[in-house]
């Protein structure tokens, strides 16, 4: 099987690209993929989201993520944040830490005596989601399964040690992969829209077929204008398994 992966992204409407706080990373060679969503109400969360996805695709974060793996990333975050003296408000804000939702996906071969099968496993914190599609059906919706499960206070990964509580609440999933399967990693706004459309009996994945960066941006812009999608940073990684 051949893997083709593409990422798409768009900042919140009214925000500049510099204000975009999601992150995605693709390492086709290592069969690792991730998206993260830095929380709007924390500062330096874009850096934190980027650190998480890069560390995951480099193999510095495992499934499940353990505290010891997060420690070096948190120290690095502190160093970056305090490179320059901060004004009073930035100092106060940084002491609370940055937070991000995260979903990381890894493919691996499971060997038995007779054959080798491709499998996937994933870990998620908060409301970034993974969907696996086969023959025009969702076969996995992880970690959230319905559009009503999204709220504004998800359990996220923190850049300060006392924000680590959510490691215990991180979800894990896995299963087999077949030729023709499609995986999506999404941050919350587009994931919520995706599930809502599915619940209405529609096939939102059809709209995500054959997109390029520019048509993806048009699609999201229209969905926001029609109030079908919350105005938030949007990030999507699409992974196709081709026979």
């Amino acid at each position: 099987m051949e893997i083709v992966a593409t990422d798409f992204w768009l900042p919140k409407n009214g925000s500049s690209e510099a204000e975009y706080e999601d992150a995605s990373a693709i390492a086709e060679g290592k069969l690792r993929f991730a998206v993260a969503d830095g929380a709007t109400e924390t500062s330096f969360s874009k850096i934190w989201a980027k650190q998480l996805v890069r560390a995951f695709v480099d193999g510095r974060l495992s499934i499940p993520i353990v505290t010891d793996e997060l420690g070096p990333l948190q120290s690095r975050w502190q160093k970056i944040v305090h490179r320059h003296p901060l004004p009073w408000y930035a100092e106060e804000k940084a002491s609370d830490g940055a937070f991000a939702a995260f979903v990381g996906l890894q493919f691996f071969d499971a060997r038995s005596e007779t054959d080798v099968k491709t499998n996937w496993r994933a870990a998620a914190a908060g409301d970034s989601c993974l969907f696996q599609l086969r023959d025009g059906k969702i076969v996995e919706s992880f970690p959230l399964e319905d559009s009503g499960s999204f709220n504004d206070r998800p359990n996220l990964l923190g850049s300060v040690a006392n924000g680590n509580g959510s490691l215990e609440t991180m979800s894990r999933a896995g299963g087999p992969v077949f030729a023709g399967d499609v995986f999506f990693l999404m941050t919350d706004a587009i994931a919520c829209w995706f599930l809502k459309e599915h619940e209405r009996g529609n096939k939102p994945w059809d709209l995500l077929q054959g997109q390029d960066q520019s048509s993806f941006r048009d699609l999201v812009t229209n969905l926001r204008a029609e109030k079908e999608m919350k105005n938030d940073d949007v990030t999507l990684v699409r992974i196709d398994f081709i026979a």
Binding site: T40, D152, R153, N155
Partner: protein, 255 residues
């Protein structure tokens, strides 16, 4: 909006309490909007002081200004004091940690509580704002006071403000009553039954019901609120209220 001056005994102490309350509120609002690149202008803020005079009450560089973008507020405190904050020592105890405490608003003890006049001024500022920003998030008028109005019934002026609206909803009026009575704290009550005096009940009546999105955030933060809960606190600060202002994803682990 804040009653800076107070009246009667313990003036200075009560005035300090009101000034601290407003400074803490501004500080929290700034921090809420702070990002690595600076402060995002999610809000504009005006502060009206009322006592011997009624008018704009920022000190320092912002003196005399009516409405100021939150980035300017954050970058222009009159001064920054060093204070101590109690933080966990990691072993079950608390230790003092020095923090910078910005001051925009100075306490001044002086007679009179012309609340009606102050609310009237707030109303005209809000009306003007709504003309310029008809689709904005509905403005919030926060009245922090330690005394009873000395210029007549303030409920009329409060009702007039509550009748104003943007295309997004009605203007909200919240009240914070700092009393010298040794009465326990009351936050966001659904009725006026447990309130200690007529004046507290009047401020409760003047307060808007918390809108649904604020109630949702309050509940998620573990606060006890119901459908009738109003934006009123007695001998408590309104810092929690800042958390109810929705500007985006807020981690559940964050205080």
């Amino acid at each position: 909006m804040a009653d800076v001056f107070g009246g009667g005994e313990g003036n200075q102490k009560k005035a300090d309490g009101a000034a601290d309350a407003i400074n803490r509120m501004l500080q929290n609002l700034v921090i809420k909007c702070a990002k690595e690149e600076g402060i995002r202008d999610y809000f504009h803020v005006g502060v009206i002081g009322y006592g011997a005079q009624v008018g704009p009450a920022f000190s320092g560089a912002l003196a005399g200004q009516q409405m100021v973008p939150i980035s300017q507020v954050g970058n222009s405190p009159a001064r920054v004091e060093q204070r101590n904050k109690k933080v966990s020592d990691g072993a079950g105890g608390l230790v003092d940690q020095p923090v910078r405490f910005p001051i925009w608003f100075e306490p001044v003890a002086n007679g009179g509580t012309p609340m009606g006049q102050a609310l009237g001024q707030a109303k005209s500022i809000v009306e003007n704002w709504l003309t310029q920003h008809p689709d904005c998030f509905p403005p919030i008028v926060i009245n922090i006071t330690d005394g009873e109005a000395t210029d007549g019934d303030p409920t009329v002026a409060a009702a007039e403000i509550r009748r104003l609206k943007s295309s997004d909803g009605e203007v909200l009026v919240f009240n914070c009553h700092l009393s010298s009575q040794r009465a326990s704290t009351i936050e966001y009550p659904g009725n006026g039954d447990g309130l200690p005096d007529k004046f507290a009940q009047q401020l409760f009546q003047m307060s808007s019901t918390l809108p649904e999105h604020m109630r949702a955030i309050a509940s998620q933060s573990g606060m006890s609120v119901n459908e009738g809960s109003r934006g009123f606190v007695f001998n408590a600060d309104l810092v929690a209220l800042i958390k109810f202002l929705d500007i985006g994803t807020r981690p559940s682990a964050l205080r």
